[in-house]
């Protein structure tokens, strides 16, 4: 018999407030709540609760809360409750532990140890409400030689660029891992905001071809849903070499999530597990990568930028240098805290490096080699706020991808149970009754609100520094100071400690 694992969180119901309307029961896909006819009141089985807060949010009388259970094994600084439970779980099942969303463990968040400068007396701050403040950025190669025709007019030989109204994009989340309605919300928000969303590796649903000019399509190791029309539909094409949540391994979408629509979009059989291999089987070197990049460019008449996405790993600077030389227009780097719909727990929690350090090193290396302008750099992996965007740009990024933050805007409460396919918020599920819980009319507005709010904040922060464009902030590390960081960390980040002057 399986070892019983006690509930990690407990559902607490205030019986004074509960009117037994049974909304919690109807909204819980995990079957936590039930109405007991004998007792004439609601009951809860906390062992089934994933702490997604759907019931808490929808309870009309706010009668519910979810608390950390105080049930504990004998306290042990060496063997935590969680570690012990994981062992029981594996002894029960014999399987690899699965997790979802980003690494939740207590590793440093370097963004929180970086402070931003502001203008005082000797240089004026800028008020973004009264003066122009440019947040538009262009992503792509910018290292072309200026050429003129015989009359001396400039020849437009600039490679294709992506124009973003603000340096934020929605990161790759595939149709299959997230729902149709989540995709529609992202696509419509990207269109309204003048930014881009990313299909992930799951192909592009035929209904979303109309959002093509705001779509980045992905070509990943499984090549799901990749065909000529798919490449033509997009504004840019991303080759996914790695993902921050699970560097070095592929993907596995369980057959239960391969619905008829997902199957058609991915061009794979219905109900069969979709496995993305760990490597691209045709890429074992920078030269091989170059072949794929140029195959894609050839297929799209050199009109669309090609992005190469890698996970932030120990040797990321050298890898980025190789990618820059392979012909890619944009490099996307995904830090170790990046999200996922499912990853082996050990990989998610132990592999990769923080995005702040990876970004600083990549920017530095590309500058040293004189090839910084031949690529744009986009970073991802837990961009928590507009302040993180500002800091990332000052560390050298051209733009940021947001994934988790975007899902939060859609209702996600980070219960980290995406891999169960029973998302109560209608995001990470393909069950029709759950998918309909995310109305894209609401979802897209919430995404637009989030990015609009962040853009305002970015403008405020730039104005405070006396900077009036993203271009002038980019790589401007003198605007940053570290606090509580050691010398090695400061050196890697390329910033001074707070209190040190220029």
């Amino acid at each position: 018999m399986d070892t019983f694992i006690p509930a990690e969180y407990e559902v607490v119901r205030n019986s004074e407030l509960c009117i037994a309307c049974r909304v919690c029961e109807r909204q819980c896909s995990n079957g936590v709540h039930a109405y007991d006819k004998d007792l004439g009141k609601m009951t809860a089985d906390s062992t089934k609760c994933v702490n997604c807060h759907r019931c808490v949010c929808l309870c009309p009388t706010h009668a519910l809360k979810i608390v950390k259970s105080d049930d504990t094994y004998k306290l042990n600084a060496n063997w935590s409750n969680q570690t012990m439970n994981e062992i029981y779980r594996q002894a029960n099942s014999g399987g690899v532990l699965l997790s979802s969303m980003g690494n939740p463990n207590d590793y440093p968040i370097y963004f929180n140890n970086i402070l931003v400068n502001a203008s005082q007396v000797t240089n004026p701050p800028i008020d973004p409400l009264r003066e122009p403040m440019e947040t538009t950025v262009y992503l792509g190669k910018k290292d072309v030689e200026i050429k003129r025709d015989i009359q001396g007019r400039l020849i437009d030989n600039l490679p294709p660029q992506l124009k973003l109204t603000t340096p934020i994009m929605f990161s790759a989340m595939s149709y299959g891992s997230i729902s149709y309605n989540a995709h529609e919300s992202l696509a419509r928000a990207a269109e309204e905001l003048g930014i881009f969303y990313n299909t992930g590796e799951g192909g592009l649903h035929k209904d979303f071809y109309k959002y093509g000019k705001n779509t980045i399509v992905q070509v990943a190791s499984g090549r799901f849903g990749v065909h000529e029309e798919y490449l033509q539909a997009a504004a840019a094409i991303e080759i996914k070499m790695g993902q921050g949540a699970k560097p070095g391994i592929g993907g596995h979408l369980p057959g239960s999530k391969i619905s008829e629509d997902v199957s058609r979009t991915r061009m794979i059989p219905q109900g069969v597990d979709a496995i993305s291999p760990a490597p691209h089987h045709d890429i074992y070197s920078i030269e091989d990568l170059r072949q794929l990049i140029y195959s894609i460019k050839e297929a799209t008449a050199y009109k669309k930028p090609v992005i190469v996405k890698v996970a932030a790993v120990h040797n990321v600077a050298a890898i980025a240098s190789g990618i820059a030389r392979s012909g890619a227009d944009i490099i996307a780097i995904d830090g170790f805290r990046g999200g996922t719909g499912a990853a082996p727990t050990r990989i998610r929690d132990n592999v990769g490096i923080p995005i702040e350090l990876a970004l600083a090193q990549v920017d530095e290396r590309l500058r040293q080699e004189g090839i910084r302008d031949s690529v744009s750099v986009v970073v991802a992996g837990s961009i928590h706020s507009s302040a993180d965007v500002v800091k990332a740009i000052a560390l050298g990024a051209d733009a940021c991808y947001i994934g988790t933050a975007a899902l939060l805007a859609l209702g996600c409460h980070l219960c980290r149970s995406c891999h169960t396919g029973k998302c109560n918020w209608g995001i990470a599920t393909q069950r029709p009754d759950l998918v309909k819980r995310l109305n894209p009319d609401i979802g897209y507005k919430r995404l637009v609100n989030l990015v609009t709010a962040w853009s305002h904040e970015i403008q405020e922060m730039m104005g405070g520094m006396g900077i009036n464009s993203i271009e002038a902030l980019k790589g401007n590390r003198l605007m940053l100071r570290g606090v509580g960081l050691n010398e090695t960390e400061l050196k890697i980040l390329g910033i001074h400690h707070a209190g040190e002057s220029m």
Binding site: R22, V23, R26, L58, T61, I442
Partner: protein
């Protein structure tokens, strides 16, 4: 005239609207005071169709029909149409014959909990709530209040 419309594509069958309706028409100041009253002392004027395990749900309340059969059939003159087109009930005139309950093709008029008069959705104009409470609290915008 602005009416309440329901889009079954987004109705989750959570039944929140029924409780929000009951609360709005209860005269109570706190929703939790509804405890034990819904279904006995207070009946919602909106009802969700579709059983627990069925894929489609649909909240139904008064459609404020252009040719309202309830108004035509009312023997006491309790039901009438306003100039804007809203079907209203005057409880003081209602004799409780419930002809309207039988006539309504949507089942949107029902006897009030006291059994003495009929009740129906008055678009929250009779309770001082403002925007109809079912619309204001629908978690998925499945119930909307608009001109069509």
């Amino acid at each position: 005239m602005k009416r309440i419309y329901v889009n079954e594509e987004w109705c989750l069958g959570c039944h929140l609207c029924e409780y929000e309706c009951a609360f709005a028409n209860s005269g109570l100041d706190k929703m939790f005071k509804l405890k034990g009253k819904v279904g006995s002392e207070i009946l919602p004027r909106i009802q969700v169709e579709g059983g627990e395990n069925e894929p489609i749900h649909f909240a139904v309340n008064c459609r404020h029909c252009t040719n309202a059969v309830c108004v035509t059939g009312c023997i006491a003159g309790a039901l009438s149409k306003t100039d804007e087109g809203m079907v209203v009930i005057d409880k003081n005139k209602c004799v409780g014959c419930f002809t309207c309950v039988l006539l309504c093709p949507f089942g949107a008029i029902m006897p009030a909990a006291d059994g003495k008069a009929a009740q129906k959705c008055m678009l929250c104009t009779d309770n001082g709530v403002g925007t109809p409470n079912c619309v204001a609290h629908c978690p998925n915008n499945a119930i909307v209040y608009e001109e069509r």
